[in-house]
Symmetry: C2
Subunit: 140 residues, 2 copies
DNA sequence: GTGAGTGCAAAATGTTTGCACACAT
DNA sequence: ATGTGTGCAAACATTTTGCACTCAC
């Protein structure tokens, strides 16, 4: 068992949840992938998992901080949390939908400083940017 | 007619939309208020406007950049766009719920630069921070 | 063995669409 | 006058819930 799976199992167990087949399947669908919508996950697991269980699984994943939600236009998507991949934000193209992850330590520090300057202690933050990617911006 | 209403009318007309009663009502519901969910707007206007028209109105408002969407926890809400109030982000306290607006030009520039560095053209961006405010952070 | 987790079916909620009528320009 | 915008009703999509059965521990 590698570190990632280990972390997955530990995250569930320390909060008293069991490791089940549906939970593993959903986790695998999310591992190393772009943020996905719930309906995408429902569709991909349709033959193996009931819709309701997908919703219930994601609820558990959020509580155990296995996943986090990401804004995407009017909807949101789900991805593995910062425990499983390094902290980042996204640029989303309004035209072709491509998602470009961005990682920038200086930005993180800057955000942190703004908050501490107000005596505010950050638990989490989310930055979502949308517009047009290099390819699509020529036509918009 | 004051400047705000003027801007509202102009925003619609320049894109070829008419100013109608339902659109004015929804606009008034949003003016000078905290971000609201669609269902709140539907409920508040129930006696005067059909659900479908609320959705259609918000679609038009978005296209004409009268409103913008704000993620609020895991849901979305609608507020008047930066044309009607100065661009800002929020620090939200998980304990007492206080919302501290933040405005920081250097931050905005920094975000802009990250995007342009990737050839990305920003249409909008959203930064939501949550944690504990100065008062509440002593107890957490 | 036992309680947590699941599938299934149905309900509740949220969003979109077609169409005939009403209203803004 | 005319074409956009609206209400209404129905379709469609998404999310939640109750219940009996199953599986992880």
């Amino acid at each position: 068992m590698n570190t990632i799976d280990d972390l997955f199992v530990t995250s569930l167990k320390t909060k008293g949840y069991s490791v089940t087949k549906p939970r593993q399947i959903i986790f695998d669908l999310l591992d190393n992938k772009e943020p996905q919508s719930i309906s995408e996950l429902v569709r991909k697991s349709k033959s193996q998992i009931d819709r309701a269980s997908v919703y219930r699984t994601l609820e558990v994943f959020e509580e155990t901080e296995i996943t986090q939600r990401v804004s995407n236009g009017w909807k949101y998507k789900v991805e593995l949390s910062d425990k499983f991949q390094s902290h980042h934000h996204h640029l989303t193209c309004r035209n072709c939908g491509i998602v470009i992850p961005i990682e920038d330590d200086k930005l993180e520090d800057y955000i942190e400083n703004i908050a501490t300057g107000q005596g505010f202690k950050i638990v989490s933050h989310q930055l979502e940017i949308d517009g047009y990617c290099a390819k699509c911006s020529t036509t918009h």
